[in-house]
């Protein structure tokens, strides 16, 4: 995470009984990461807009019966939260199990096995089997792009690809279509990805995908390694003007 400049943090926030000073406008997740408190996330990615869709980062807020997503919770003075409890662990474990039950995430032959955030979350939350019935949806694989492929059976609808394409690459190839269990990622106007002229082939969507839904073609089981940190790197480099010709300015 980038070091901040400007005024010192002065918003007192208590996380798991320990008081920290937060910056004004900071989210609880940003604060937690800055001070080294682990809160699990899936849809969130530093450098992209906040989506708050996966609910894995939920925390207990003192005085509020509802759980709040840390990624979208802006700090306020005297905020008091709990990030680890039996209830939260159970809640997060169920989310992970439901994600597994909803798709066909068969780790055994997944390109991303070993480099998959969903697989890691299952391990972190002691998911040793799925309590729910598997939906076994018959989702289409889109291999029409010359370089990349999309396996919707492995998609968790985190919308990282949608956001990175729109917000960082500026191409807006990806969108969400339909709702609920019918929800799916579509390219262009629900076209085969390879036919979408707006796609610049930059591959950022593939790099940020947390699972094996988006991958480089030609990768076999466990051979796909994602690089979601590329977004934070790009955002920082843009802010610092790293690509500007400084000599010309001088």
């Amino acid at each position: 995470m980038r070091p901040r400049t400007g005024p010192r943090p002065n918003v007192p926030v208590t996380i798991d009984g320990v008081e920290h000073q937060a910056y004004e406008g900071e989210t609880l997740l940003e604060l937690a990461r800055r001070v080294g408190v682990r809160i699990p996330t899936l849809c969130h990615l530093e450098g992209l807009s906040v989506y708050g869709g996966c609910r894995l980062c939920v925390v207990e807020v003192a005085g509020d019966r509802r759980l709040s997503p840390a990624c979208a919770l802006e700090v306020t003075a005297e905020l008091e939260v709990t990030t680890q409890s039996w209830d939260l662990h159970e809640h997060r474990r169920r989310i992970v199990e439901l994600l597994f039950a909803e798709g066909d995430h068969v780790c055994a032959f997944c390109v991303s096995s070993g480099s998959c955030e969903l697989q890691d979350l299952a391990t972190e939350h002691d998911v040793d089997h799925i309590h729910y019935d598997f939906a076994h949806p018959d989702q289409a694989v889109d291999a029409s792009h010359p370089k990349y492929s999309l396996d919707r059976n492995r998609c968790v609808l985190c919308t990282r690809c949608v956001r990175v394409c729109d917000e960082v690459e500026g191409a807006h190839v990806w969108d969400m279509a339909m709702r609920g269990s019918q929800g799916r990622i579509v390219a262009g106007m629900d076209q085969p990805w390879g036919e979408v002229a707006d796609c610049t082939w930059c591959g950022k969507c593939v790099l940020v995908c947390p699972t094996g839904a988006l991958s480089f073609k030609g990768r076999a089981t466990s051979e796909m390694v994602h690089d979601p940190d590329v977004v934070a790197f790009l955002a920082a480099a843009r802010e610092d003007g790293e690509w500007l010709d400084r000599k010309a300015d001088a």
Binding site: F100, D104, V106, A108, Q119, H129
Partner: protein
């Protein structure tokens, strides 16, 4: 149940393995226990499984590792026999735990079409529906816990020999000491993990 337990059968633990709808990779990984198999032999008798020549699932088994999803009628029958005759049943590997590759057929619907394609349409000669030896497929391929109650889950495709030994040695030591299932949540290089 005396033939295979020549040693003092009142104290020897009885371990079995079963192979349902899986590729036998979990059993291969079991064999990868290598020299640990000697330790296992010192602790327990292996009374049933693809590695023994016993036809019927024996009674009074302490621990049974069950590999594979429940995908056909034979699997279902054996799974039920395992449950009736075992104190503890371990769902052994991703197919048993989650259905895994064996259950990919579920999204294709009616298995009759699948069988037609493989046995009737595909062969160059004499294509016909199998009527003997090959057991009929169930409408859906299910994880083991959908069919029988499970005591311990051991995911992995396959679970590594180290992971199998971590579970099996702790479980057998606990049973030998007259205790039940030990605390099996563990962290470290052999984290429980799918795939």
């Amino acid at each position: 149940m005396s033939a295979e337990t020549a040693v003092d059968e009142t104290t020897r633990l009885r371990v079995a393995t079963a192979w349902l709808g899986g590729c036998s990779g979990c059993h291969m990984s079991f064999l990868d226990l290598d020299e640990k198999l000697l330790d296992l032999a010192a602790m327990a008798d292996l009374v049933y499984g693809p590695l023994t020549d016993t036809k019927e699932f024996p009674p009074n088994v302490d621990v049974t590792l069950v590999e594979g999803a429940v995908t056909n009628e034979d699997n279902l029958e054996l799974a039920r026999a395992v449950r009736s005759n075992s104190r503890y049943v371990v769902s052994f590997g991703d197919c048993a735990v989650s259905g895994n590759i064996t259950s990919l057929r579920n999204s294709m619907g009616d298995p009759t079409e699948l069988v037609r394609r493989v046995y009737v349409d595909h062969p160059d000669i004499n294509g016909h529906f199998p009527s003997e030896v090959v057991p009929a497929l169930l409408p859906h391929s299910e994880p083991l816990h959908e069919v029988i109650p499970i005591d311990v889950y051991l995911p992995g495709c396959p679970p590594s020999a180290e992971r199998i030994w971590t579970l099996l040695s702790r479980l057998l030591e606990s049973l030998a000491a007259g205790e039940g299932i030990p605390d099996l949540t563990w962290r470290g290089p052999e984290d429980l993990r799918f795939g």
